[in-house]
Amino acid sequence: MSYSKEKVESILNNGISRRSFLKGLAASGVLTSLPGGILHANEDLNTKIPYLGQKNYQTFRNACPRNCYDTCSIKTYVKDGVMQFIEGATESTYTRGGCCVKGNSYVKRVYSARRLKFPMMQVGGKGSGNWKRISWDYAMETIAKKLLEMKKEDGTLLGAALTKYSGNFGITHYGVEGMFSSIGYTTRLAGTPCWPAGIDAQNLDMGDMWCNDPEEMKDSKFIILWGVNPASNSVHSMKYIYEAKSKGAKVVVIDPIFTEAASKASQYIQIKTGTDGLLALGMAKIIIEANLHDQKWLDANSKGYKEYKAYLDKEIKLENVSKITGIPLAMIKELALSFAKAKPATIWMGYGMQRHTNGGSMIRAIDALVAVSGNIGKYAGGARYGHLSTWGFNYAALSQTKPEGSVGYTGVSAIKGEFAKENGAKAAYTDRSLNINKTARELINAKEPKVRLLWVACKNVFSQDFDRNQLIRTFQQLDLVVVADQFFNETAKWADIVLPVATQFEEYDVNVSYWHYWLSLNEQAIKPLFEVKSDVEIAALLSKHMNKLEAGSCTFPQSVDTKAMMVKEFNPGIYEQFGIKSWEELKNGPVKAKAVIPYADGKFKTPSGKFEFYSDKALELFGNALPSYVEVRKPYDKFRMTSPHSRWSLHSQFQNLEWMEDVHPEPYVYINPDDAEAKMVKEGDTVAVFNKQGLLRVKAKITDNVQAGTVLMYEQWYNNNIYNVNELVDDTSSDMGAFKTGAPGVALHDTFVNFRKL
């Protein structure tokens, strides 16, 4: 190996050469890769990187695995083994070359100085802040020993619990659940706080949750964005909405808040919160009375239309609809009739809209409205909510067998989760399920056996679950809490062992979306930093240690290659659906599934095979066979608190990065001017927002974006700021969710608070 003495001397002695050299230091990854000794990396160097020209970079394919409609396909530019910058993949018409504000902060996230680097153990007890660095072997041996000890004492591993949710939706990350299956029957925090009410509703009506391709919206003639804010939470969808609008389509936003999407619509209608279902029923009635409904389609493809119509005739009075929704009757009529006349027309229902005690019933009502208008099964039509139709992978990482002789739960165990797979035969034993929406209490109340070990992955319990004070008590009572994560957060604070996890750029995976129809390969773009490991590598290491102590105690492979795991997920069905012959084709960019229009053939997976206005299942489970008006929860305090998702973060991810703090530094509570005036609160004042759950101190912004009687605070987690809306959220359940996901959702927007100036 040779080097150039002249080159070095030129760098040392020539000011411009030297400055140029120093400029490249950051780009080279030196600053973040030095192991550290007496000499430390100089952070004060110019850390800006130059653009060096396409051919000077290695590019890789990645995907954003976050819980987001848009699941971007990413192109990652790497130089000398260091990520330089990312772009969105141009091959995907959906991503169209650009990620969002969060995706563009990925380089900062991967190389953040505050990333978890090594396995650590909290030696002073949970919450003490006294951490000791431990080796991976020591960490996994400790956990393995505890698991085997518990199995010996209890005769089962039901005392081991897993809480894992949507931190990473890459398919191989179901290997975390697979890891738990591979040790025996265990306890799972199951269900979902997110969208179960709507899932149930769509399944009752149509036998599935299966939305049209969002890219079709550019050809819709009428789009209702109902309780959804894509301008904040699905930015890539907006271009299709804009295109439709520029071609003359009407875009109507119905929302209690004048959202970012509302500001770009043709028409904004502010509705009284929780009355959306009634509005939809009223609109259907108007359409039918004007004879603009699609009688032919309804005759051929629906069950129970007669009963539904009778219900509308008898029970839905338009004056009442107007009064309760707070919308003038003329406006409702105009909306209904123009919606019915436009062909095709579509409605996009947001997850926020169903986070009420009557959420499921509202989705049913809107599904029915779309059906009545004849837009189910039509290109650029549809009642849009989400889909899982491109998720037909092998789930090899997930599917691990229980070790022989495993003893499990014999009670009733209904809770699954929206991504759970149905098994064929019924086993004698099952895992024990606890409701993820009642984590704090269910963990501590579980008996025979008690829960003694908790593994947290792809989830931030303290940021996203409820009843914080009880969570602390619960965690403290558990023998061993293991948290696998990328950053130190409040959940890690109450852990015993913290395991540093790889980002998607440091591992292989494969990704699809629950909204669009693209498939993305996720390649390993860089070597894992420090000692981070992929969730599946962690599982393999656990298996190695468990089998070392007791042969056969864990069936998870004892060594894994994330690339091989990714390859194992593909099957002929996926290849057929996406029109490829091999996963390797994805190295050239993401591909789109062959176009299918849901329900175009009139076939529904309901018991009757038709669109069900009248659903026996709905009657059995939820007391109402028909889409009906159900009143929303009555207030228990002075103001409704609505806590929508922020554009700056994906739950507790991204806002903690310095780059994000530059564009969005702090949280606010948004208060209507009349409400503010009544309490003498001015712009910028610090107020206390409180209810029986807790209290938050936050700065106020005064705006009529929120209606009187409602305050708005975005759901986010900041660095060095105790702000967390879950302090105030009451974990009251929504009506539906138990049918398909085993437990109802949470009526997050039916939280009530009061506030006062501090």
């Binding site: 190996m1 040779s2 080097y3 150039s4 003495k5 080159k7 070095v8 001397e9 760098i11 040392l12 030297r18 050299f21 120093l22 490249g24 230091l25 080279s28 990854g29 030196v30 600053l31 890769s33 030095l34 192991p35 550290g36 000794g37 007496i38 000499l39 430390h40 990396a41 100089n42 952070e43 004060d44 160097l45 000398d80 083994g81 260091v82 070597k527």
Partner: protein, 185 residues
């Protein structure tokens, strides 16, 4: 008899342990790093420290001062031209030094730290941006003064300290290995 030692520890680890020896803050750290080099020399922690101090630290006149400037500039002073040159080198390498003006940058322990970290980048992280600088540091600096330091130290240690001989021979082997596998162009 001075002979090249067979390589039992990895290239990076050998540098790391030698670094740790010369940066040890107490007898425990010194012994730990010494033992990591697998000398098979039986010596107590206290004896090791005593000998090490006599050779490299003080309080009496040392056998061999572990500072580059002593061999390259004036043998009676620290913090001279060479020190500043090394300081400049570290800055170009992207380092910051918290003991600036407290302990000279050209102390053997600090220089071994720099060399170790640069080699770590290349070997463990496959980052080659500073490779040229590492070679320059090796051939145009370390290779100039360390042999003289070794000569002075070994002349004494061969007579009265197997432990110090071992350390110095480890360093000598390291330097020979590094310089013979890389060349200036």
């Amino acid at each position: 008899m001075q002979t090249l030692q067979p390589q039992t520890t990895s290239r990076l680890d050998a540098i790391k342990y030698l670094r740790d020896i010369f940066n040890a803050q107490n007898s425990k750290e010194l012994k730990k790093a010494f033992d990591a080099l697998d000398s098979s020399i039986d010596i107590s922690e206290e004896d090791l420290e005593v000998q090490f101090n006599r050779y490299f630290i003080g309080p009496m006149e040392t056998v061999a001062d572990p500072f580059a400037s002593v061999y390259l500039d004036n043998p009676d002073v620290f913090m001279s031209k060479t020190t500043l040159h090394v300081r400049d080198l570290y800055e170009t390498m992207g380092f910051t030094y918290s003991l600036k003006n407290v302990i000279p940058e050209d102390h053997l322990g600090v220089e071994l730290d720099a060399y170790y970290q640069l080699l770590f980048l290349e070997e463990a992280k496959e980052i080659t941006y500073l490779s040229d600088l590492r070679h320059y540091f090796l051939h145009e600096h370390l290779a100039l003064w360390i042999p003289r330091f070794l000569e002075r130290g070994l002349a004494q240690s061969e007579k009265d300290s197997p432990a110090m001989t071992f350390i110095l021979m480890q360093l000598k082997s390291l330097l020979i290995r590094e310089t013979t596998t890389t060349r200036s162009s």
